[in-house]
């Protein structure tokens, strides 16, 4: 730093060296930072670009790389999307997925807010063990649960109904949300609640009027995360749902659109694109909450 301040006074001969050094570090920065970063970006985004491109490409271009440039569309078409929306049950699948995601998010938000409040604020004997148990519940992966759950769902008479998904999704949403919200409640000063207690507020009033308004960012994070996780869920939906019309989007694309030996890549990609859009749009509105909840959950 001191060198940079001193050089202008020293004259032309002296300025030459720092400038070449600056250029050198710029080139170095280019190679060490921007070049790898650009490679990462290209690789991470290419599948989406390819998905979008395929969704709007006419079949003639799709299977002919020699005459058409595969990285561009010369005559974009909406055929695949039209096929998807009017010849398949795609709109229904979207509605089912949306309903399941919204309902299970709602259930798990309520349950985990209450649980997190009890664990973090009511401070009863053994509260940290309940917290630990809920943390451990997050480590139980759906892959070892789907077979017993399938028999349970069948016995409860919920097989093939979206209700089965609405009830089972909270099992992996509640641990995550509770965990996230415990962290948020921890950051709210306890003195605020004490003041309210002295003023004669009941516990439920405190929760509703003081803690919850202050925990809104946490609630939004937990909500959008739950929504995304239930939108993405696959194995339960695959195991519990049989009939075509009550499938969720990820399952339906894989089981209903893949037919025979000739894959309709255009329709498949259009379906994937449309299925990703709601989450992607949701994501673009709440990016900061996603990042903070992801990093907050890891740090907790």
């Amino acid at each position: 730093m001191t060198e940079a301040v001193a050089t202008p006074a020293a004259g032309n001969a002296a300025t030459a060296q720092p400038e070449t050094m600056a250029w050198d570090s710029k080139a170095r920065r280019m190679v060490m930072l921007y070049l790898p970063l650009a490679c990462f970006l290209i690789i991470l985004l290419f599948p989406f670009y390819w998905m979008t491109l395929t969704a709007f490409k006419p079949n003639a271009e799709l299977f002919d790389y020699k005459t058409y440039n595969p990285f561009w569309i010369s005559s974009p078409t909406l055929d695949h999307i039209r096929h998807l929306l009017f010849n398949t049950a795609y709109p229904r699948w979207l509605v089912t997925t949306m309903t399941v995601a919204v309902c299970s998010t709602f259930i798990s938000l309520i349950a985990s807010t209450l649980a997190a409040y009890a664990i973090q604020r009511l401070r009863f004997k053994g509260s940290q063990y309940v917290g630990l148990a809920i943390y451990l519940a997050y480590l139980v992966p759906p892959s070892i649960q789907f077979i017993p759950l399938a028999t349970m769902v069948y016995q409860l008479g919920l097989f093939d109904s979206p209700m089965a998904l609405i009830l089972t999704y909270p099992t992996f949403l509640i641990p995550f949300c509770t965990w996230l919200l415990i962290g948020y409640f921890k950051s709210i000063p306890y003195e605020l609640e004490e003041c309210a207690l002295i003023d004669g507020a009941t516990r439920l009033q405190i929760l509703r009027q003081i803690t919850l308004p202050l925990a809104v960012p946490g609630l939004i994070s937990a909500g959008i995360f739950s929504f995304t996780l239930s939108w993405n869920e696959f194995i339960y939906a695959l195991a519990f749902i049989q009939s075509s019309e009550s499938k969720t989007v990820p399952v339906a694309i894989l089981t209903e659109l893949v037919s025979g030996d000739v894959y309709q890549w255009g329709a498949l990609m259009a379906g994937s694109l449309l299925g990703s859009l709601p989450v992607a749009i949701f994501y673009s509105f709440f990016v900061d909450y996603y990042v903070s909840s992801l990093t907050g959950a890891v740090k907790e």
């Binding site: 991470l44 390819w50 759906p142 077979i147 009941t202 516990r203 993405n232 990820p250 740090k299």
Partner: protein, 318 residues
């Protein structure tokens, strides 16, 4: 004066009814608050976990209640080459994909930790692969890995001229295995990078300044400051990554469904294939249960990672 106001105040305050008093009684309040979460988790998580372990010791099939057969399912699995194959590929898949994800993810996190324009936008874009439903991006990979119209083959054969034939990504065992690992790494990088970036940002710059004054090299700063400070968060993220990679289902089911010739079955996809379409619920449950020892191992890893964290911070200020 003060006596009259106090009396007026106490008159306006009504005796709370029994419901309000019930909710003021702490034990009841605690139970009422915990009931929805604990109830749901017990019924749909703990009970199925026990039920799954019980099913693993029975010969239940779809539509028929099974009887206790003891260790028969597991004895059968130990002689089943397909199960051994799935164990091998699950471990291989988890090992290679975790190393790949963490090496590349750490690199990306270190890159993103520099000052540059549009940093938050960049961070948002990078998380995209993790947000989009796995199955849907897996289908995109399936298309990218198409034997005839793969864009990678096109690049290598027609543009770069490195190869003379198309790569048969999913047609034979080893290429299919590596292709799936590549797709898993692709999906895992953002999560690792963003979590580690959060860890990097908590490292105090004064440590680096002190090291610079002592004449350290870039490698030394990474080796003796960044890496040890990052270790606690690295341990947690890695545990999660290992657990969810080992029990992965979606990616393999969407791209290869265990093929070609059952060479890419993970334990989860094998359990699904035997249990749901195959109808052998008992055997499927046994395969699922055989994943548990690995998961317990990973959880213990997480526990010791956390224990180390308190030790590193010196005092219990967390």
């Amino acid at each position: 004066m003060s006596a009259t106001t106090a009396a007026a105040w106490s008159r306006t305050r009504q005796e709370p009814n029994w419901l309000v008093r019930l909710f003021e009684w702490k034990p009841f309040l605690v139970i009422a608050c915990l009931l929805p979460a604990v109830g749901l988790l017990t019924v749909f998580l703990t009970y199925p976990l026990g039920l799954g372990i019980w099913l693993a010791f029975t010969d239940t099939t779809i539509g028929r209640r099974g009887i206790w057969v003891g260790l028969e399912n597991f004895e059968y699995l130990l002689e089943d080459p397909l199960w051994w194959n799935a164990v091998f590929y699950s471990v291989f898949y988890t090992g290679v994909a975790t190393v790949g994800k963490f090496a590349l993810g750490l690199w990306l996190a270190l890159l993103l930790n520099n000052h540059m324009p549009f940093k938050s936008l960049l961070r948002a874009i990078i998380l995209l692969p993790w947000i989009v439903p796995t199955v849907l991006s897996a289908i995109a990979f399936w298309w990218i890995y198409d034997p005839q119209f793969s864009i990678i083959s096109f690049l290598l054969v027609d543009i770069l001229g490195v190869r003379s034939t198309n790569i048969d990504f999913l047609g034979s065992a080893w290429p299919a295995r590596w292709s799936l690992i590549a797709a898993n790494v692709w999906r895992g990088i953002p999560f690792v990078a963003i979590s580690l970036l959060a860890g990097l940002q908590t490292i105090s710059p004064s440590l680096y300044e002190a090291a610079l004054l002592d004449g350290s090299t870039a490698w030394q700063r990474f080796r003796y400051i960044t890496f040890p400070m990052l270790l606690p968060i690295l341990a947690i993220v890695m545990t999660f990554s290992i657990i969810f990679t080992f029990t992965d289902f979606q990616l393999v089911y969407a791209i290869t469904r265990g093929g070609p010739v059952n060479s890419t079955h993970l334990l989860a996809t094998l359990a699904f294939q035997r249990g749901i379409p195959g109808g052998q619920l008992g055997e499927g449950a046994a395969i699922a249960v055989s994943m548990i020892p690995f998961l317990v191992f990973a959880t213990l890893f997480s526990y010791f990672g956390l224990a180390r964290r308190k030790w590193q911070q010196g005092e219990g200020n967390d």
